[in-house]
């Protein structure tokens, strides 16, 4: 057992650190959930891509560096420690790209991945529907066969980034479910579509703080060519679940993000904390310990990956942990700020609002706990 990097990894870290020090904007970009901020973040993605830091874990031919998970985690540590902007391309990079790499065709990868890496095309996800949230497999948006492709009809919602994004991906019902059929996750197809195609209406939804962080999508016979179907038609559920595994697992929220946030919290505590307030001190200590625990848990899982094991339901432990941790950390920061906590332009207010969504998206924490209990502890399935 070891917890040290090789000289090669340390050199990679140094290279990333140097590049970031020279290129990270001196002052924060406007919120990426605004039109102005979205454009600024897109421009940052382009700069990151020119330095070949946008997608380090991808194969070189698509704009990456082909590095292993260990180096990706090291890059993420450096990225967040440098105070670099949030990733507006996150949905595409961490959800769609792994799906294409696992299930897409060579032509799809060559067509879709390079503009995703450069920020030229920014992707939104289109999973949930008004009547299909946690019970995603009950979705009813349809994909109907037509000449040379499919016609999408229905409504998607809570589609992150869709207010300003270019394209979206999601699953659609392509085979009519038999009445009373017990298997709602059959007959679904995974498709990519253009958010500006005829028949698409995007209605932005104001997040808790009013920013249009997600949107409803109304689809009325939207044409999707066959080349934009991922995998076999009808296999969408299995393919989508392989992405949500990624999402919940090691790639959605890297430890570097929380290590950096915990570091900022310690700085805030040192600047604004009352040394005699041991209750507050304990919460700051818990934030430090939590970031380290999450980091170490990830290193252990990365080593399991490297040894050829797969991470299954354990990724649900991951998701519940970081989403709860993130809220507690931000609440501690707000408490340290006192009366200034509610000021929107403060460094902690918007991240706090963002953290509140963590236990809800990417599979609610209630669903995750069901998965943990049933698959890791072997408890019986019950009614949700």
């Amino acid at each position: 057992m070891e917890l040290t990097h090789t000289a090669g990894v340390r050199a990679f870290r140094a290279e990333a650190r140097d590049w970031l020090a020279a290129h990270v904007p001196a002052s924060p970009l406007p919120s990426l959930e605004t039109a102005e901020g979205f454009a600024a973040h897109r421009a940052w993605e382009a700069l990151l891509h020119r330095g070949r830091w946008a997608v380090v874990s991808w194969p070189e031919e698509y704009g990456g560096r082909g590095v292993d998970l260990e180096r990706w985690l090291v890059f993420e540590e450096e990225y967040w420690a440098a105070g670099a902007p949030g990733r507006v391309s996150q949905n595409g990079i961490s959800l769609l790209a792994p799906t294409l790499l696992a299930h897409g065709t060579e032509r799809q990868r060559a067509r879709v991945l390079p503009p995703m890496a450069s920020g030229e095309v920014i992707w939104a996800q289109a999973w949930s529907e008004p009547e299909a949230g946690s019970d995603l497999a009950s979705l009813t948006s349809r994909a109907e066969r037509t000449e040379g492709g499919w016609l999408l009809t229905g409504q998607k919602t809570w589609s992150s980034r869709a207010a300003f994004a270019d394209r979206a991906f999601g699953i659609f019902r392509s085979e009519a479910s038999q009445a009373g059929a017990a298997k709602p996750h059959q007959g679904l197809t995974y498709l990519m579509f253009d958010l500006r195609a005829p028949g698409v209406t995007v209605r932005p939804i104001g997040r808790l703080d009013g920013k249009p962080a997600f949107a409803e999508l109304f689809l009325d016979r939207v044409f999707v060519p066959d080349e934009d179907v991922i995998g076999e038609p009808g296999q969408g559920w299995r393919i989508a679940m392989s992405t949500t595994g990624n999402e919940r697992g090691l790639t959605l929220r890297s430890p570097g993000r929380f290590l950096a946030a915990a570091g900022r919290l310690v700085s805030l505590w040192e600047a604004a904390g009352d040394p005699g307030d041991t209750a507050m001190r304990d919460r700051v200590a818990d934030a430090v310990v939590g970031a380290r625990a999450y980091e170490l848990f990830t290193w252990a899982n990365a080593a399991r990956f490297a040894a050829g094991e797969t991470i299954g339901a354990e990724s649900s432990l991951n998701k519940v942990f970081w989403s709860q941790y993130d809220i507690a950390l931000h609440e501690t920061a707000l408490d340290l700020l006192g009366a200034d906590a509610e000021l929107v332009d403060g460094a902690w207010a918007e991240p706090w609002v963002f953290s509140l969504a963590g236990p809800i998206y990417a599979g609610t924490n209630e669903i995750q706990r069901d998965i943990i209990a049933e698959r890791l502890l072997g408890l019986p399935k019950g009614r949700r």
Binding site: E2, R13, L259, A260, G263, F297, L317, D370, A373
Partner: protein, 332 residues
């Protein structure tokens, strides 16, 4: 970076787990609480035969170590089994005597301790005030704030613990043999404190895992409203949270064992102690009234969880250490 146990480390843990699992530990715990150490000492000697204590001692003094990672794996199994006795203290004494580097003292005490023939207990600055199981331990060490290492001739006054299997004694400071003194003693004591904290964290993790395993088994077989209670979301989610706390404590324990740095060890102790206590509270609630009885063996682990959470570093002390020692946050 391979942050995972090696095959040898896994094998050692598996061996010790099988050995302890085959013994009637619950009976030994109950006897121990009544002051009958015989059954417990039989298991103790067998566990020592796997090298459990020798792993903490230097090779120069007939030890196998110092191998903190392997020792920590061993103490997870010790905790899982519910074994009583001053095991953490005995291992910490092995560290203290190794670090002290006094050949005469090492020869006098270590062979018996490492072989599991003699038990030791220990109090030192930064630890708790009471000597655990000073009646079972023939060697009762104390390090004073002034840096004197002393050996008590008698066990001292006994104080009952909420866990009957933890027999506490007020050190008999009036009847002590001086063994050594000076800054070297304080340095060795600081190392022993770090190990004691680490191994208590390991023991906590094992206790917590045992509590969760028993509770999951119970939730699968206990039926109410015509269905196993483990199918109810309120029960499932509490058990899921219990598992999560234990699973995130484990890598902290590993990192603490790898570095033995004060902040890392404190983080491990804090997290494992809290996770084990949370597992105890879950176990108690999910078992219902029967879990609140001393008759059910579950009580043997339930009663350990709280004192172990506080032994060799309370959560508050550990949190202070985490901030003082500046746990690394990036850039290693």
């Amino acid at each position: 970076m391979r942050f995972l146990p090696t095959d040898e480390q896994r094998d050692f843990a598996r061996t010790l787990r099988a050995l302890l699992g085959a013994a009637d530990v619950p009976a030994a715990v109950r006897a121990w609480g009544a002051g009958e150490h015989g059954p417990g000492r039989t298991v103790w000697a067998r566990a020592a035969g796997t090298g459990l204590f020798a792993l903490a001692a230097d090779e120069a003094y007939d030890g196998l170590g110092p191998l903190p990672v392997e020792t920590a794996f061993g103490f997870v199994e010790w905790g899982r089994s519910g074994m009583p006795g001053p095991a953490v203290e005995t291992a910490a004494v092995a560290v203290l005597l190794s670090r002290l580097g006094d050949g005469t003292l090492a020869k006098r005490f270590l062979p018996g301790l490492l072989a599991g023939e003699v038990l030791a207990t220990l109090t030192l600055p930064g630890g708790g005030p009471y000597a655990l199981d000073a009646d079972a331990a023939a060697c009762r060490f104390r390090v004073s704030r002034a840096g004197e290492l002393r050996l008590a001739r008698t066990a001292g006054e006994r104080l009952a613990s909420t866990d009957p299997a933890r027999r506490l004694f007020r050190p008999a400071v009036a009847e002590e043999e001086p063994l050594a003194e000076g800054p070297r003693v304080l340095e060795a004591a600081a190392a022993a404190l770090g190990w004691a904290r680490l191994l208590t964290a390991a023991q906590c993790l094992g206790v917590g895992e045992a509590l969760l395993a028993r509770t999951v088994a119970y939730a699968k077989q206990r039926t109410q409203f015509g269905t196993p209670i483990g199918g109810f979301q309120a029960v499932k989610h509490r058990l899921a949270d219990t598992l999560m706390a234990l699973e995130f404590a484990r890598p902290l324990l590993w990192a603490g064992a790898l570095s033995l740095e004060r902040g890392e060890v404190a983080a491990a102790k804090l997290t494992a102690g809290e996770a084990a206590y949370a597992a105890a509270m879950t176990a108690l609630q999910v078992h219902g009234a029967v879990g609140y009885t001393e008759e059910l063996d579950l009580s043997l682990w339930l009663r350990k969880a709280r004192p172990l959470r506080d032994a060799w570093g309370t959560p508050s002390q550990c949190r202070a250490d985490v901030l003082e020692a500046r746990l690394p946050l990036t850039g290693r």
